[in-house]
């Protein structure tokens, strides 16, 4: 019988701590699929954020470091400058990237650091209990916008990609989502393209992914996906925001590498 689906090799067998319906686990898997397909797990050094994805290194079977909240792109800069032939990416939430780490992301992009940034926009601070993020939609209730987010008091949802578009150092910027299989596939292509941008030494690229946080949106996983479709992507339009790259072939495609035998008999790394 032909195997249709399996866990990516570069994912460990650890059970994630994510809530059901959370986008983080899904996005982890997409990243790992891309890494497997490009066959670069041995070259990756990832930078995990402070946020719900802080334990990403338990789920990824490639080298990963922690970074202080928001300093993720600065840490990635240090790594990439020392290891220019490795593949370095940051994985950041919207608090990490669009609030506390705004300076770091803008300047990493402006220097044209040859790194990939995976920006998970779920519109709230998941890890700390669902507070308002800079990305929170107007009218949205959160733990710290209990009378909803109002433009005159709490400002507007921030569109980081559109802000970064004017930076010559950023060569590829795309916004995707994970609310439908079609969008998941597009997210995968975008991450693939971002990694290929880096492999081709073309410069800074970033993929913003609209992701559900059912827990702090106060919805079921299904309702969360519907909310993305009906509300969130109206404010954060999907698609390429900037692409100055010459058309690239999407490098290796699925199935071009031999699957290794077993995956889950490898016990998850114990990290005390």
């Amino acid at each position: 019988m032909k195997k249709m689906f399996e866990k990516p090799r570069s994912m460990t067998c650890a059970r994630t701590h994510y809530c059901s319906g959370c986008g983080h686990g899904l996005i982890h898997r997409i990243i790992c699929e891309v890494i497997d397909e490009l066959d670069i797990a041995g070259r990756v050094v990832a930078v995990a954020p402070v946020g719900c994805a802080v334990l990403a290194y338990d789920y990824w079977d490639f080298d990963t470091t922690e970074a202080a909240h928001g300093r993720t792109p600065a840490v990635a800069t240090g790594i990439k400058r020392v290891l220019p032939d490795n593949v370095v990416f940051t994985y950041q939430g919207d608090g990490d990237l669009a609030a506390i780490g705004t300076a770091e992301i803008i300047h990493a992009a402006n220097r044209g650091e040859n790194i990939s940034v995976i920006f998970v926009n779920n519109g709230v601070y998941g890890m700390t209990g669902g507070q308002m993020a800079p990305t929170t939609l107007l009218g949205q209730t959160t733990a710290t916008s209990q009378f909803t987010r109002r433009a005159d008091k709490e400002g507007f949802p921030i569109k980081i990609l559109e802000m970064m578009k004017v930076l010559p150092g950023a060569v590829y910027l795309e916004r995707t989502s994970v609310h439908s299989p079609k969008e998941v596939a597009k997210t995968k292509s975008a991450i693939m393209k971002s990694f290929n941008t880096q492999l081709g030494k073309k410069g800074f690229s970033m993929v913003e992914i609209i992701s559900p946080c059912p827990t702090y949106w106060g919805m079921t996983p299904l309702e969360s996906m519907e909310r993305i479709e009906k509300e969130v992507i109206k404010v954060y339009p999907l698609g390429s925001v900037k692409d100055t790259l010459p058309q690239m072939s999407s490098s290796r495609t699925r199935g071009s590498i031999k699957p290794r035998n077993t995956i889950c008999d490898r016990s998850p790394r114990s990290r005390g």
Binding site: A41, G42, R43, V44, V45, V47, V54, L55, Y57, D58, W60, D61, F62, D63, T64, T65, E66, A67, A68, R71, A74, V75, A76, T77, G78, I79, K80, R81, V82, L83, N86, A103, E104, I106, H107, R111, R269, R271, G272
Partner: protein, 353 residues
């Protein structure tokens, strides 16, 4: 072959780092350490290293964090306000057990203060600075030669113990020019293997670097390991200089540029028949408690002189306990203790009443 140069302390730090095989520097301009950042922008280029003028001190220290994760010898430098911003990063370096070298060319504070020399960051440097139970090695040079020597050695110490090392100097030492001498072929002792570094999990299992330990007891275990390392450092790396203290009735305790003033005072006092000595802690952490206590045991009095409101004096009192008298003389906000004032104070302390 030994060669002689005339340069500023800031440049001496920079060259010391280059000679120690440091090939990664990130910094942000601030007086009185600007010569160092400028020097590194030239030297890193010449040596095929990386120089980054970061967007802030926060970014600079975290770039150093990243470079250290990737096993490079990495350094950043700043002056007091910028070092305050680096404290978050230093705490993470300590928690992740990453080596790094940080230069603080202290200026007057608090706040923006001024750009005059000061020693008012002693507490911040030696007592932790950032959050959490951690220490960093703090070395205090007193001349341009030591700015080179200590920076050079700091990288070995950092790698050996997997700990951040700070060179704590003041604006005088950063900006004054003095002769500097070193062997053209000087090389770091031995570049230590860093099996913990992240360079890609090729032909080995994946690794992570982290300071987050959520499992009950696991963070306490990390802290116990850290404390064990700190204890070892205290036993092996405590450094100081004393000049004549054996027969001294009063010992002036001071570090950095102030220790040079103290030395002049001790010499002058001896000419007048007053038995003064100096004690100069070189490692501010680990602090030479035992050595000071040994002197206190003889009933010797102490005068602690600092360019601060009195910070190191607390450690001296901790060492002396109630065995002997400890006086303090300090200048703040960029003031420099004057010989005359020190000599007068010692004369008062030695009058038999």
């Amino acid at each position: 072959m030994k060669k002689r140069y005339l340069c500023t302390g800031n440049e001496a730090c920079g060259e010391g780092a280059i000679r120690a095989a440091c090939r990664f520097y990130a910094g942000y301009p601030i007086t009185p350490q600007n010569e160092l950042t400028a020097y590194m922008s030239r030297r890193m280029e010449e040596e095929n290293g990386t120089f980054i003028q970061a967007e802030s001190e926060l970014a600079a220290i975290n770039m150093v964090f990243g470079a250290s994760v990737a096993r490079a010898r990495a350094m950043t430098s700043s002056s007091s306000p910028g070092i305050s911003l680096k404290q978050e990063g230093i705490s993470y370096l300590a928690g992740c057990r990453l080596p790094a070298v940080i230069i603080n060319i202290m200026r007057g504070g608090p706040g923006l203060g001024n750009i005059a020399p000061s020693q008012s960051d002693y507490f911040q440097a030696t007592k932790g600075g950032g959050h959490g139970d951690y220490r960093i090695i703090v070395l205090a040079p007193a001349n341009v030669q030591e700015m080179f020597d200590f920076t050079f050695e700091a990288f070995d110490l950092a790698d050996k113990y997997r700990i951040p090392v700070m060179i704590l100097a003041d604006g005088i030492l950063g900006q004054m020019m003095e002769p500097l001498e070193f062997d053209e072929n000087i090389k770091p002792k031995k570049i230590i293997d860093k099996p913990w570094a992240l360079t890609g999990a090729k032909n080995r299992s994946a690794k992570s670097i982290r300071s987050l330990w959520l499992k009950p007891g696991s963070l306490e275990k990390l802290n116990e390991e850290l404390q064990k390392t700190y204890k070892g450092i205290s036993e092996k790396e405590t450094r100081y200089e004393e000049y004549p203290t054996k027969d001294a009735d009063v010992v002036i305790v001071s570090y950095g540029a102030v220790s040079r003033i103290a030395r002049v005072c001790a010499n002058d006092l001896r000419k007048e028949g007053i038995k003064a000595g100096i004690f100069r802690p070189i490692s501010l952490w680990p602090f030479p408690y035992k050595e000071i206590r040994r002197i206190a045991g003889r009933g010797t009095k102490f005068l602690v002189v600092e360019m601060s409101a009195g910070q190191m004096v607390e450690d001296v009192r901790l060492a002396v306990q109630d065995d002997s008298r400890v006086d303090f003389l300090g200048r703040m906000g960029g003031g420099i203790p004057e010989e005359k004032a020190i000599i007068e104070r010692i004369k008062k302390m030695t009058v038999i009443s």
